[in-house]
């Protein structure tokens, strides 16, 4: 899913530039931090690979700087972009892996652990392992041993909305239940001026994300995992129900969508779909947009996070953006289940330097630096919410650290038929009639079986 990988984060760059000064001062404070308590310099060097390039690479280097300064270890960072998996495979096979690597999926961790290519971390990081909730530790555990720490995460359960549009429609607070969300949609539509939803369609992945959110909130993480591995059929009633609820959300022939169904398909390219809710100039035309927390980097820089009373409709005055968690039905047990993605750090070669580095990455001080730069959330519970620069990322971090269950984006696990799944999602979106849903579900089962072998 590198579709949005190249999204220019000019806003983030700005924050980074401003925050670099903060980092410089922070590194002084951090040198006294617990992770770096060993004041004597170790020296030597260590290599680390991750996906991050450009802005994210700069941010991560800012994270590494205090570590290098205090330990005297030179860190060689390589940003592998979307080739991370391939490159790591080859490096492990060739016997020259980096000392530490951050990978974007738990599957790689399991594979490498099974090959004994990564080292158990419990004895190395010690008490730092307590920085993560059970959902996160479980995702980094293979055969009861902890092999990784989730340094960075993304929350896909977010819904972005323009507080001024909600207010113009007479809605004072964001919906907290699925039925409230549907009611609010009707209220906004009744207002006549704004479309309730600007739907991202693109080549289908945002629709898949929407489906996944809804499926998780309606059926929970266990069912979600079963569907992801195709132990549950696409033709099951859980999927059918989710499609039916999704049709409620879009309304008949897209009545709740900006520009109707045609408009959603024509203008729903990522991140074009975000601009009608958060236009750089003029007034918004839609109230909310569904996507993961990386959407923040597409909100123009004149928007401030929050939903205060000073938020204006006009982008020229003081516009705001805010998020709410994708709501579950009232009383649902799955309200705190979260869908998203993340980067897990693993130890491939065990040296004094690499052990020090992974321990540092597991510590709150490392994650706090990036949190402060913005565009970053970590499931590390010990990172004080105060480290995040704004209310939106604070809320995001709170949701992540308190997640009851965390599931990975289901479509990314559909190796071999992911684009087909996206096309199927677009198909159901356009024609949610019961007969078409049945047809498409049968097709999806065929495609999944062909690709996954069962």
């Amino acid at each position: 899913m590198n579709l949005f990988g190249r999204a220019k984060a000019s806003r983030k760059a700005l924050i980074a530039a401003v925050a670099l000064t903060t980092v410089a001062s922070m590194s002084i404070i951090l040198s006294n931090g617990p992770a770096l308590a060993a004041s004597k310099k170790i020296g030597g060097s260590v290599s680390i690979w991750a996906e991050w390039t450009s802005t994210e690479q700069q941010d991560f280097k800012a994270v590494l700087q205090p570590f290098e300064d205090s330990t005297g270890i030179t860190v060689h960072y390589t940003g592998k972009g979307s080739n991370m998996d391939t490159a790591l495979d080859a490096a492990v096979a060739g016997g020259s892996p980096p000392a530490v690597a951050l990978v974007p999926d738990p599957g790689t961790l399991d594979t490498l652990a099974a090959k004994h290519a990564i080292k158990p971390l419990a004895s190395i990081i010690g008490s730092e392992s307590k920085n993560y909730g059970t959902a996160w530790s479980a995702l980094a555990t293979y055969k009861k041993k902890l092999y990784g720490i989730w340094f960075k995460a993304a929350n896909k359960n977010t819904v972005y909305y323009n507080p001024a549009v909600f207010k113009a429609a007479g809605i004072s607070s964001a919906p907290t239940s699925w039925s409230q969300l549907l009611t609010d949609e009707t209220t906004i539509a009744n207002g006549g001026t704004y479309a309730p939803v600007s739907l991202c369609t693109d080549i289908g992945w945002p629709v898949a994300d929407l489906f996944q959110n809804l499926f998780l909130k309606l059926n929970g993480a266990t069912a979600y995992d079963q569907l992801a591995t195709h132990k549950m059929k696409w033709s099951s009633s859980a999927v059918t129900n989710t499609f039916a609820e999704m049709a409620q959300l879009t309304g008949a022939s897209g009545a709740n969508l900006l520009g109707g169904m045609k408009g959603a398909l024509a203008d729903g390219s990522w991140p074009n779909c975000t601009t009608s809710v958060f236009p750089a100039s003029g007034s918004p035309t839609a109230a909310m947009v569904f996507e993961a927390d990386f959407l923040t980097s597409n909100v123009p820089s004149n928007y401030t996070p929050g939903n205060g009373s000073s938020c204006t409709l006009s982008a020229k005055a003081s516009p705001c953006y805010d998020t709410f968690n994708f709501p579950a039905p009232t009383g649902s047990a799955y309200a705190a289940d979260i869908q998203g993605s993340g980067d897990v750090a693993m130890l491939l070669t065990s040296t004094r330097q690499s052990k020090a580095l992974i321990k540092y990455l597991a510590s709150p001080s490392a994650a706090s630096i990036w949190a402060n730069l913005g565009g970053f959330v970590t499931p590390n519970k010990k990172v004080a919410l105060g480290s995040y620069p704004d209310s939106v990322s604070k809320a995001d971090a709170r949701a992540l650290t308190s997640a009851k269950a965390f599931v990975f984006s289901l479509d990314d696990l559909q190796v071999g038929w992911e684009p087909a799944l996206w096309a199927d999602m677009l198909n159901v979106l356009q024609n949610p009639s019961a007969s078409n849903v049945t047809t498409v579900e049968a097709l999806m089962d065929t495609q999944a079986t062909a690709a996954l072998g069962h």
């Binding site: 007479g170 207002g191 022939s253 959603a264 024509a266 096309a423």
Partner: protein, 475 residues
């Protein structure tokens, strides 16, 4: 290169002794061609062979899988769609671009401003397809405030049906009934009517909803007031029953609500025929005076809600061939998305200049006497064109046609830049599939290589055709 200058070897000098031999005589020539040959071997020939090899290996090129990749090419719906689109392009584009090129080439011979005309037609070739695709994407845009084509369609459609003061948004499938709120219900013919019956001396209040505040602002809507009774008449108000401060209040007028001005109303008697009509004022008030005794309903005729035009989704994936009832594979093969046509039109705009230049050169080289003889024989221009010019131009036309077929087999940039996300899948082609399968989300060599090999096999005949012509020509 400078070392060669320093040596300044005399190749043409009288033959040196045998032992200096071939190398001595030819080394400068070999040095001259070596960079080209090495470059071609390394970056064209070797990779082509490697791709053929990859096409028989798995995605990470570590295991031989035989024809498996080719099998998945022909069984994957998304790739079949790409094949289908390539076929559509090949069937339509080369013919039309050659035909248009021929027409303009023939006609330009007859005008004085031929140079200027040719420059205009040729110009798009030098634009990047990326830039051209972006331009055409706006031309075909769904929004008539952006896209010229839909703006023209809108103008024409407005001639035939004038939108009402409160046009329904047919983009989201709005109907008049969906506007009904307080004391209002649907009436035959897409009209709305008051739910309650009213007698002379009574009042009617009708609440509608989903009226855009922009419309109300334009019409200068004011706060409505509850109607006062008129003796022997019927008074009432129609208002936008939506208050941001009291969203759940749908029964009474709230201070931040607005009346609906300029609404045409008619008074309908118990037999259903209209007895009077009026128009609401700026606060949504209306009245009918001197009404005969009886029971009436107030009707809001459908003309008030005459929909505004909704553009044609030229860049959409809706099929222009009837393929909706078929299964997925059959749909992949038989549907022709509308955007294919839009893109082919754009591509003709780009390439017609190429066809025109080539055909124009061919025309210039034609034997004038034959053409003139035909004209003197009294053949009409069309006949001359059809029976004399085209047959004589056949070799040039073939070259144009074949070049355009090859061009279209590789069509890529225009789809990537012109199709909105939702149409990227339905409009994909082989070249785009290679890019998407091979390069997005890490490098995968198997299926992408198999598609590349197929693409290569498709141009091999042209390769030999070129060579045969070349050999024939130089002999």
């Amino acid at each position: 290169m400078t070392s060669v200058t320093a040596e300044g070897l005399k190749v043409g000098a009288p033959r040196a002794s045998r032992q200096h031999g071939w190398w001595r005589r030819n080394w400068v020539s070999i040095a001259f061609i070596a960079p080209g040959i090495i470059w071609l071997l390394a970056i064209v020939v070797y990779p082509t062979i490697a791709t053929v090899r990859f096409s028989f290996y798995n995605e990470s090129a570590t295991k031989f899988v035989g024809l498996h990749n080719f099998a998945s090419v022909f069984s994957t719906d998304t790739i079949l769609t790409a094949f289908k689109n390539n076929v559509v392009w090949v069937l339509i584009f080369p013919f039309f671009v050659t035909f248009i090129g021929l027409m303009v080439a023939v006609l330009t011979e007859r005008i004085r401003w031929a140079t200027a005309f040719k420059a205009i037609i040729v110009m798009p070739i030098v634009f990047s397809t990326t830039a051209s695709a972006l331009v055409w994407r706006t031309i075909f845009d769904l929004d008539p405030h952006v896209g010229v084509v839909n703006a023209i369609e809108q103008t024409v459609s407005d001639w035939f049906s004038t939108p009402g003061a409160y046009p329904l948004n047919s983009a989201i499938g709005q109907t008049a009934v969906s506007l009904a709120s307080f004391n209002t219900t649907g009436a035959p013919g897409g009209a709305l009517a008051s739910k309650s019956a009213v007698q002379p001396g009574g009042t009617v209040m009708m609440g509608l909803t989903r009226i855009s505040s922009a419309t109300l602002q334009t019409l200068g809507a004011k706060t409505p007031v509850a109607p006062q009774t008129i003796a022997g008449g019927i008074a009432g108000v129609v208002w936008n029953d939506f208050s941001p401060s009291q969203t759940s209040n749908t029964t009474t007028i709230v201070s931040d609500e607005h009346g609906l001005p300029n609404l045409r109303l008619s008074l309908v008697n118990s037999t259903g025929s209209s007895v009077a009509s009026t128009v609401t004022n700026s606060s949504g008030d209306f009245s009918f005076s001197h009404v005969a005794p009886g029971s009436y309903h107030v009707e809001v005729p459908a003309s008030n809600f005459q929909t505004s035009f909704v553009g044609t989704f030229w860049l959409g994936s809706q099929s222009i061939t009837p393929a909706s009832g078929l299964n997925q594979t059959a749909q992949s093969l038989l549907s022709v998305p509308l955007i294919d046509l839009a893109m082919i039109i754009s591509y003709i705009w780009i390439w017609a200049g190429f066809a025109m230049v080539l055909i124009g050169a061919g025309l210039a080289a034609l034997n004038r006497e034959v053409l003139e003889a035909a004209e003197i024989d009294g053949a009409t221009e069309w006949q001359t064109l059809r029976r004399v010019t085209i047959p004589m131009l056949a070799p040039v036309l073939t070259v144009v046609f074949v070049t355009m077929v090859i061009n279209v087999l590789k069509v890529f940039d225009i789809i990537l830049n012109m199709a909105p996300g939702s149409s990227q899948g339905p409009a994909t082609t082989l070249a785009l599939s290679i890019y998407n399968d091979g390069f997005t989300g890490g490098i995968h060599s198997g299926v992408a290589s198999a598609i590349a090999v197929i693409l290569f096999l498709l141009v091999v005949p042209v390769m030999f055709w070129n060579l045969r012509k070349l050999k024939g020509g130089s002999a």
